[in-house]
Symmetry: C2
Subunit: 566 residues, 2 copies
């Protein structure tokens, strides 16, 4: 039998080690088997505890926190299917490279696979979607604390090493599960740690010096969860290549005013135009971060097959779905910004991009005054954001950002779950980002995605928050109308549109949130300006799926016509 | 590139094979990659399609259907985290031994692990919690249909062989994903199949003949998802051993009137009494089905260590968490009921059980007139059920059934998820049971469990249903008040009670359900009698966690006093 002393020491050393390793947040779901660690989390100085009843939402909440804070976040749940509910967020964290310390309480070995209640096979439960998994020993002896601290060290360093990701720590507990609150404890003895940066090799530095002389070059920046370092701006200013900035590159917000012409934020639109594509075939491409959201960009590069296409990726798993990359730089991109570089002149290639981009925003501006659709409403919303974080759904919302979020000096950071692009868990991710950043956050989301993680709202009943949710309710899966399936009327609404007829005023009431339903630009603006008097404000925007597609396509036609006139 | 002809043939043969193998129901969630199979499901004669947007709920819906129908149910979703959302229900299905054919659409091999959107590592995604997993080839050639039909044969037979369980079929599709609706197809050529029954060996028949002569014997019946065959009743009538019937044994409903004295439905209460326990130590125990819900029974057997404790289990994984079993009969229990048996006389051992049981129900009856708590409200509800199915939550509700559901001739079948005892997915399981049985169903559930799977209600917007939901809202986790944690006030509400303050009138409105809030016995009776005019009726019963515990314990004291007087 586990002595209460040994149990208390074990769980105290556990949370003490984690805080020492920089894990400052824990998200706990209620359960019995996890009791000793849950107590220890509550007692642990330096650890902030968040709670969420639904483990699926809890894990996405932790994901949002870890993504926005850059620090690993601890998850804790009881044994059984509770742990299995973490799986979607773990998969997302694995591909999005977000550090999570997933701690699952388990039955002791003698209660496994013998039909004991709430006992499942938790060893390696998350398979290939965690970076490391360990099944810890029972808290039984007094001298296992040094081992424990080293295994937690490995857990946190595994999660935090590039490519970052989730690790799974399975912890068996035997009854009784109560700890001694009066007992003092010592940590198991932490090990000091100095990390390293994967810096550029001398060969690659030379390679880049040559490469950057090219005139028809593109720098593509994918998802970045941290702002770029100051030397980045100096670098791109000298390089004078168009910088294609993904919505998640976080180059579209907080932009230094002098960098205005360098960032191309409209390439998704520009590269829908065949004539333009022919004119801007690059000789060289450098990409940092994962593949951008934009499908037109992906198709453009796959067709153009640039002679040199360099991808920075700290993992051997090169993200290059079209097999277009020619060079894999397995190092941090920070080395690139530090390379010595002479100031280059503006050139016609770059000008083509900037001119087209300026034209695009002019056309958008006129389009927005003459039409009304989801994208235009989105733009109204985007244009008002400042000193906040924006979390967007992985389906249409991220594409609306790509089309309508014009780069700005305003302080906005943008987040989305693009590791596996699920529509699940987005509400919770937003609450998690808000918890990490502790400033106003906005969630921009479709009705199906909101419905999928409506339980994310439970978080708002368990801790303070400041979130505004803008739901684009087009009664179903909007993105399918843009896919080839939409050409086939048969079963379209049954299988893809899947209208539910549901609206969210009632659930807004259930969670005691501020709620406004809107349909027009004016109503939306008013709703956004309305002072926030609850922790959560929900603005439900009713739009029409069919009309969205038509108006959206009209924009591309308008732009094509204007571009042809040039 | 996959030709449209090959794709159409492949998916048509796929659903054609499944229907031929007895898979008559498919639960589909919207998505793009799964398009060809989704179309085929809609086209397939003999296959009924259900839809649910949240894949976690979809999988529990399928679980409920499969459990209640006894037939494997097909699940279909797109690639990515959609598939990971199935995991909790798959784990439950694995331990509860419910046949599911989990079909996940996947990207083709050239888009795996290269950073392609919505692509995760789906091969063996569910690890040790499926009975078999296969990654099918691309639909590419004309002559792969025979292979396909055989692999699906293996999938369905794996899921349907004892111990039953889920299998995972991963199917890659390459764009374009549209099939030819006009094309006719032929099946790949099915293989005929004759299954066998694991019947009793001659040695075990002899063993039982000797064993059943014992007088102090108990027959324990765990979860049974089908009614017992007629010979069972004859068998227990001759055997004259007390039959301890788990709430899920389905012996408490549909009981032949002549069997009234044979079924002991109160053992959970009786075995809380120390004096009674001492009097009824058995010489021999036979158990069929998994371990019953009752913790007092488990503790009683672990302490009593009967000389002979025979467990029927068709799996090598013997469900015997206390290591008390002495004999494992790896065969179907149906062989037992068919053994020739002479009529035995009533004996004092049996009488002890029946007398105590009768006394218990008398005490309960008086208790219910004098007190009010969750259990008493539950009894009012149970006593009114007829010609319906009752689905109960895995936490307090199943224990309320154990305490207050008196065996009856009324036609009630009882279901719960006791494979891993999760509180998740219970709402969806209920909708699934209703879909399979096509008669009125009742869900009895706590507030946290209801909240966890509120998305189960989406099913009611996508197909017809007839469900009454009785929510015991005690604002938090009621069961924790019965566990040792409740003796420690510190952090109790934060970690275990976890009150959310949420009530469900608004969500009832959102889903356009009939809704009544009640607090008293009279109000509950009236709400139950109120004619049902919507597909879903929600009765929210407000109770008090603290008071429930006190009143519950009072019952045991009352009963103990009455028993001592005997």
């Amino acid at each position: 039998m586990t002595s209460r002393k040994a149990l208390t020491e074990y769980v105290s050393a556990f949370t003490h080690s984690l805080v020492g390793l920089g894990v400052l947040d824990a998200v706990i779901s209620p359960g019995s088997r996890s009791t000793p660690l849950a107590y220890a989390c509550m007692m642990q100085e330096g650890l902030t505890v968040y709670r969420q009843i639904d483990e699926r939402s809890a894990a996405y909440f932790a994901l949002g926190m870890a993504k926005a804070s850059g620090r690993p976040v601890m998850l804790l749940c009881t044994s059984g299917t509770a742990a299995a509910n973490y799986f979607p967020a773990i998969v997302e964290a694995y591909y999005a490279r977000v550090p999570l310390i997933v701690v699952t309480a388990d039955r002791p070995h003698e209660l496994r696979e013998v039909g004991a209640p709430q006992a499942i096979n938790q060893v390696n439960l998350f398979g290939t979607h965690v970076k490391w998994a360990t099944d810890l020993p029972m808290p039984e002896t007094d001298n296992q604390l040094a081992f424990l601290s080293r295994h937690l060290h490995r857990s946190v360093q595994s999660a935090s090493s590039e490519p970052k990701g989730p690790v799974h720590v399975n912890v068996p507990f035997r009854e009784p599960l109560r700890i001694d609150f009066e007992q003092t404890y010592e940590s198991g003895g932490e090990i000091a740690h100095f990390g390293g940066d994967m810096s550029l090799s001398p060969e690659s530095r030379e390679f880049f010096q040559r490469l950057m002389k090219k005139k028809k070059g593109l720098l593509i920046v994918g998802e970045m969860t941290k702002p770029m370092p100051p030397e980045f701006w100096d670098f791109i200013n000298k390089l004078n290549w168009p910088v294609l900035a993904d919505p998640l590159s976080n180059l579209r917000g907080n932009m230094p005013s002098e960098a205005k012409d360098l960032i191309i934020d409209s390439y998704d639109a520009l590269l829908k135009n065949e004539a333009f594509k022919e004119e801007v075939v690059p000789e060289a491409v450098i990409r940092v971060g994962p593949q951008p959201v934009s499908k037109p960009l992906t198709l453009f590069l796959a067709a153009a097959k640039p002679e040199v296409y360099v991808v920075f990726d700290e993992s051997p798993m090169l993200r290059d779905a079209q097999s277009v990359a020619t060079h894999h730089i397995q190092a941090s991109a920070n080395g690139l910004w530090q390379l010595p570089l002479e100031m280059k002149k503006k050139n016609p290639y770059q000008e083509k991009w900037t001119v087209a981009s300026a034209l695009y925003w002019e056309v958008v501006s006129r389009h927005c005054q003459e039409e009304l659709d989801e994208g235009i409403l989105a733009k109204i919303f985007f244009d008002r954001l400042d000193a906040c974080d924006l979390i967007v759904g992985s389906s249409m919302p991220i594409r609306d950002v790509d089309t309508f979020f014009k780069s700005t000096e305003r302080d906005v950071m943008i987040y989305a779950n693009r590791g596996a692009n699920g529509i699940d868990g987005v509400v919770s991710t937003a609450f998690g980002v808000q918890a990490a950043k502790q400033r106003p956050a906005y969630l921009f989301i479709g009705d199906l995605s909101f419905l999928h993680d409506m339980n994310g709202l439970i978080a708002s009943k368990m801790q303070a928050t400041d979130l505004t949710i803008v739901i684009m309710n087009n009664d179903g899966g909007g993105i399918f109308s843009y896919l080839p399936q939409s050409q086939e009327e048969r079963y379209f609404e049954d299988l893809f549109g899947t209208p539910t007829g549901l609206t969210f005023g009632d659930v807004a009431k259930m969670y005691d949130t501020q709620y406004v339903a809107v349909e027009t630009v004016e109503q939306l603006a008013e709703a956004l300006d309305q002072p926030k008097d609850k922790a959560v404000k929900i603005i439900e925007v009713f739009t029409d799926r069919q009309k969205n597609v038509i108006t959206h396509r009209k924009l591309w036609t308008r732009f094509g016509e204007e571009l042809a006139k040039q």
